[in-house]
Amino acid sequence: MRKSLPMDTHNKSIRPIFLDYAASTPLAPEVAALAMEYENSLYANPSSIHQEGSKVRVEIETARASVAALIGATKDQILFTSGATESINFALKGLIFSEYLKKKFFEEISVITTAGEHSATRNTIEFLQNLGVRVNEVPLTSRGIMDLKELENLLRTETPTLFSFILVNNETGVVNPIKEILELMSKYPEIKVHIDATQAVGKISPKFYSVTRNPRIDILSISSHKIYGPKGIGALYKKPEVALVPLLHGGLQERRLRSGTENFQGILGFAKAAELTLENPDYKNEKLKEISEYLLTELRKIEGLKFYGDREIATSQILNFGIHQKDGLELLVKFDQNKIAVSIGSACYSGTHKPSHVLKAMGESDQNAQSAVRISYGRYSTLEEAQTFISTLKMILIG
């Protein structure tokens, strides 16, 4: 009955198609090349007083200016961290602990956030809430943005210390209406505004996140590995007058705010990636526009396919959709068998499939949320890859 026939194993020569840029991006070749250049000469501790240290210090400070330019900041406003998660932790905890030192009671501190935040924000807020901080959450609309009316209502009832929100949603790609939000926030100058710009940089115009153009922004978090830079490095922008309690105490690096010997390789890589993004941002990339149009056209033809998040107000580089009665994990596994990498939910945690809290907050049912698949592409993606993706999707849906 059951015979064991010689079968082909996975064809190793098939190039994988990577459609999970929102989770992480390939290292730009120019960034990868950097490590070789300085290995033998720039190894000293940048805080050392001797010339060897000085050389490294100068490189770091030059790099800082490049990263600052990415968001229209000056280098004295930029602190390097281990990534956006640390930046977000630093912004939220740093601010709240600073308030706590003044007010003495966590219960007297409140924050506002949204229902669509990344787990770095969500879990940090939950931690602060467990300490006693009062938290109000702005719900999402079915389009995927925060409900501005509700935000207005919340602001009328009390004045929190902090309002933190994500600019581009990592799951749906939807862009929060930052202009209107900041205009509203200008009526409440005492509230500190923190923006998670992790997915925004490069994917949408800097006019939305540049701190010179948007002076109402008090603190901003960005990440290197979302813009073809190395993993393990990110940055925090903050206005000089914003007081933050450090997360890391020690050698007083980063203006006494973030101790620890600087991640030199990471910083240089990040700076290079920043320069490349300034020169050639994804949102201006004609090839990516072509891919976007192609994908939207083709996906709209598929029966039973629904987009999550209003495509009109989303970055074209992150697409979230579900197919009626098809489990997202099942699609992911079948794509994976075909060497196409896509995502369901967020990349974090143990790799299990829970219905997305973002989609639930948008009013989607558990079943819809379970069906959701996210694809995201970028600088090194090709139209041919997009075509293979579509043909594979069609084949999976037939079979």
């Binding site: 026939l5 010689p6 194993t9 996975h10 994990l329 075909n338 790799g351 299990t352």
Partner: protein, 365 residues
């Protein structure tokens, strides 16, 4: 260029232990298209590998590393809600009803070879495979699948698999049936699998501490009424604080002073009475099994001498099965010699030589 893999796809249930890892390796070498999947049974996975239990994040990582080494895809899925209902709640309810449950059999019945098997089929699997020490045979004469004990008698796990039906058996592969544990570890070592030396998980996978603490954690203390301890002549000897704390044959922990050794002989959950007696009182030669399942429903084993196992670690004993007129799903089992501590709630499995005939759940004796 066609990407979609042709050929037979097997989903291997991987725990991170050496058995399921070697199973995956062997199937890959035999030419199957292998996918490794771990399933998590609780909402929050324990981060570190524990001395007891299995399937912590560390265990999943072991599975992932092995999968990577074997160049097979690996995923983790959750079966937590169903596991809670079918295994954990069953476990607690059985104890509260005065029985001693066997959650591993239940998990195989409801989760591993049903829910997980169905999910594996949905994800593109043609078969499911595990690292169980047993084999499946297709008998051309009877045109039916057979479940056969593993070569390694000590490691044989057919006791836990008696609920498998013909349909499930047609979809399952057990690559380790013809191997001993030592051979399996050697195969793992040869292939450079990191878990070749890993301890076997022996205890119940979802219990971190003791089963008593677990039960107490599942219900509130005030739900457990204390009751009487009596001898078989109905003399009241003392009080107990919950029947769930005792199992048949238990000697330790009975709060009664006695010159001779006394053992738990019976639990009456209706009266909430714990019956104790001496060793002789524990010997029985008959039991009733309920919810009996036959591997091949077409075969009739009544009246024949079979080997019967009443506990996973106990030796098989000779017995004959007879029908119970009142209930077609029950069977009466009579042993040629009395057995000690037959425990209601446990699984009882019947063998014809190395072949599993079927099994059921011990109702009473």
């Amino acid at each position: 260029m066609e990407h979609y893999p042709r050929g037979k796809t097997v989903v291997v249930a991987m725990s991170g232990g050496v058995d399921s890892s070697v199973a995956a390796a062997l199937l890959k070498e035999q030419g199957y298209n292998v996918i490794g999947i771990s399933y998590q049974v609780q909402e929050t996975v324990a981060p570190a590998a524990r001395a007891k239990g299995c399937c912590s994040l560390d265990d999943f990582l072991d599975a992932r590393v092995v999968a990577n080494k074997l160049d097979i895809p690996y995923y983790v899925i959750s079966v937590a809600p169903e596991f809670k209902k079918e295994v954990i709640d069953y476990f607690t309810e059985e104890y509260l009803a005065g029985n001693t449950p066997n959650p591993c059999v239940k998990c195989n019945e409801k989760i591993k070879f049903e829910l997980f098997l169905n999910k594996a089929m949905e994800l593109g699997g043609d078969y499911v495979a595990t690292g169980h020490y047993c084999s499946v045979n297709f008998n051309e004469e009877t045109q039916a699948y057979e479940l056969i004990k593993g070569l390694d008698e000590f490691k044989d796990q057919t006791y836990f698999l008696f609920t498998l039906n013909q349909d499930q058996l047609s979809k399952v592969l057990f690559p380790l049936g013809g191997l001993t544990k030592k051979e399996v570890r050697d195969l793992a070592f040869e292939r450079g699998l990191i878990n070749h030396n890993k301890r076997d998980s022996q205890e119940i996978c979802f219990i971190e501490n003791s089963y008593r603490e677990f039960i107490e954690g599942q219900i509130s203390f005030k739900d457990i009424p204390s009751g009487e301890i009596r001898d078989l002549q109905e003399n009241v000897l003392g009080k107990h604080k919950g029947l769930y704390q005792f199992t048949i044959g238990q000697r330790k922990g009975i709060p009664i002073e006695s010159l001779e050794p006394i053992y738990v002989v019976r639990k009456d959950s209706l009266k909430n009475v714990l019956y104790v007696g001496n060793n002789k009182d524990l010997m029985r030669d008959t039991l009733i099994a309920k919810e009996v399942h036959w591997i091949n429903p077409k075969e009739n084993y009544f009246g024949k001498n079979l080997m019967v196992k009443i506990r996973s670690r106990f030796q098989d004993k000779i017995a004959t099965l007879t029908e119970t007129p009142s209930d077609s799903n029950s069977v009466q089992i009579k042993f040629t010699e009395p057995l000690r501590a037959i425990t209601p709630g446990q699984a009882v499995v019947f063998y014809d030589g190395p072949k599993v005939v079927g099994g059921g759940w011990i109702k009473s004796c």
